[in-house]
Amino acid sequence: MSETPVAEMNFEDAMRELERVVGALDRGDVALDESIKLYERGAELKARCEALLKDAEEKVAAITLDGDGTPTGTTPVEGM
């Protein structure tokens, strides 16, 4: 699981991995140099989670349909 690049992880995966890293460090049963590596990975995961959380933009659009009910495009929806 540690093979997936952090930058490509979705929020859920990054979150689960961060949880695992923190759990491993909390247990304190990892070697010192391993714990440094874990910390670095944890920091990276945290940054990824934060970036994904900040990227929370509301954008609402309604699909426009032609006479047959086939979608033709969108029209912004505002004021709701």
């Binding site: 979150m15 910390y39 989670c49 609402v60 979608p71 709701m80």
Partner: protein, 493 residues
């Protein structure tokens, strides 16, 4: 005038119609008199013609009304008539002159009454359940944080507003609304089409494909919600590859789509809550994880430092470790030269003691003694050769032979002596000895005569004396009897 004459009987002046005329008149009358009407009844026999037109009966306990829905109208029916279903049909009465029949052209069918609707719903539920569409194993997990949420609902109204509000509160997302009619005959068709349409979009396209769908409608009567009980809607929801949340009506309303959706929300607001997590909670969680991360690392370092110090304290000084061995070394070093000379001394003494009796003379005496013993043995060996034994046996044989001969001779002598003795005894005991003492023996005809009678009967008598025989008349006997004297037996040897 002639008109009057042509009227033979009163009442016979009514106009005369052709069949087509009257058919047309009837049709016009029926259509005109009733207009658009609603009729309630139970659906009887249903027949769908190859042309696509639908023919069926609607009946009550006494009468039957033929109904027709043309091919183009069938798609617009919110409920397709099924035999046994209690319905209200809407349309116009008309007549079919070619068969002298009247019927109703129906363009709308509604299920009559809640009981009938519930019965129909139960029937559909059973059918879809039998197909396995309600299986829990079919349910897809909802994405934890969807990027784009597709909402199938009415574009206006409280429902979409509730959903958008709740999404904004929790985690603002991109939302695509697919506008549909949420009641009426178009509802089912449009909703099914929207679900299918969202699934057809390509991810990341101009119209990006959502990763979560919400099908929502506010509360209403069972008839209002009926579109979501239609089979096409349920099948579209079941077929959706995108995880789907259904939120139709209030909490107490359960529609067919709720059974096939991946998650059922009791209200549209609840659907928004199921759809996204709360952003600020996640931010707090991430902060917390970051803090735990730092704490764990620094704690780990502190702990290791502490442990290192503890261990260092427990570690003894190198000098003290060496004290005892060094002392032992010194003592051993002192003792070493003395021990060496003492060891040599004691060994030398031992050597002298053992080397004392060890002289060449001793060895020579020993050799001589052994040589003598050897010679003696050798001598004994010569005399003890087998010839001696042979000689011994030979001697013994000669000895035995001699003894045998002697014993034999002795035995012959013994027998001879015994024989002589026995003969002597025989002679003593025999009558001839008595002859010496004066007795005589009388023989008659060669036999011994002991009685007078025998003597008288004998033709010739002989008397035997010690010195020989004679007849009583004094003539010497003719025959001498030597048998009384056994021949002398010579020695066997």
């Amino acid at each position: 005038m002639s008109d009057l004459l042509d009227d033979p009987m009163p009442g016979q002046n009514s106009p005369e119609f052709t069949v087509s005329e009257i058919s047309g008149a009837v049709k016009k009358t029926i259509e005109g008199a009733f207009g658009r009407i609603r009729v309630r009844g139970e659906v009887g026999r249903v027949f769908k013609a190859r042309s696509g037109h639908l023919y069926y009966d609607v009946k009550d306990d006494r009468n039957v009304l033929s109904c027709t829905t043309w091919k183009g109208q069938v798609a617009g029916l919110s409920v397709v008539p099924e035999e046994g279903l209690e319905v209200v049909v809407t349309g116009r009465l008309t007549a079919f002159g070619a068969q002298s029949k009247y019927n109703m052209n129906v363009d709308e069918v509604a299920v009559a009454g809640q009981g009938a609707l519930m019965a129909l719903l139960e029937k559909r539920k059973k059918q879809l359940a039998a197909e396995g569409l309600f299986e829990p194993a079919r349910k897809k997990p909802l994405p934890y944080l969807p990027e784009i949420i597709g909402v199938v609902t009415s574009p206006s109204g409280a429902v979409i507003r509730d959903i958008l509000h709740r999404l904004r509160d929790r985690f603002p997302r991109k939302v695509l609304i697919w506008p549909v009619a949420v009641q009426g005959e178009a509802c089912a068709r449009e909703v099914a089409r929207a679900i299918d349409g969202f699934n057809r979009l390509t991810p990341g396209g101009a119209l990006p494909r959502p990763d979560l769908l919400i099908v929502a409608r506010g509360g209403g009567s069972i008839e209002d919600l009926w579109g979501f009980n239609e089979e096409i809607v349920a099948r579209a929801a079941a077929a959706s590859a995108i995880p789907l949340i259904s939120a139709v009506g209030h909490e107490t309303d359960t529609t067919l789509i709720d059974f096939v959706s991946d998650k059922r929300a009791p209200t549209p607001t609840a659907a928004a809550e199921l759809a996204v997590p709360v952003r600020h909670e996640l931010l707090a969680w991430v902060d917390q994880q970051g803090a735990r991360l730092s704490r764990a690392v620094s704690h780990g370092l502190t702990q290791r430092g502490q442990r290192l110090r503890d261990l260092a304290r427990a570690l003894p000084r190198a000098e003290t470790l060496l004290d005892t061995p060094r002392q032992r070394l010194d003592r051993a070093g002192d003792l070493l030269p003395r021990a060496l000379s003492r060891g040599i001394d004691s060994r030398r003494l031992d050597l002298q003691r053992k080397a004392g009796p060890l002289r060449p003379q001793l060895l020579r005496v020993m050799i001589d003694r052994r040589r003598d013993a050897l010679n003696a043995q050798q001598k004994r060996l010569v005399t003890a050769a087998p010839t001696r034994e042979i000689q011994r046996r030979k001697d013994r044989l000669a000895d035995l032979e001699k003894r045998l001969k002697e014993a034999h001779l002795r035995r012959i002598d013994q027998r001879r002596d015994k024989l002589i003795a026995l003969d002597r005894l025989r002679e003593t005991l025999g009558y001839q000895a008595t002859l010496e003492r004066g007795y005589a023996v009388v023989w008659g005809d060669g036999k011994l005569v002991t009685t007078t009678k025998a003597a008288q009967s004998a033709s010739e008598l002989e008397i035997q004396f010690a010195d020989g025989r004679m007849s009583p008349d004094g003539k010497p006997a003719q025959q001498k009897k030597p048998k009384s004297k056994p021949p002398e037996q010579g020695s066997l040897f």
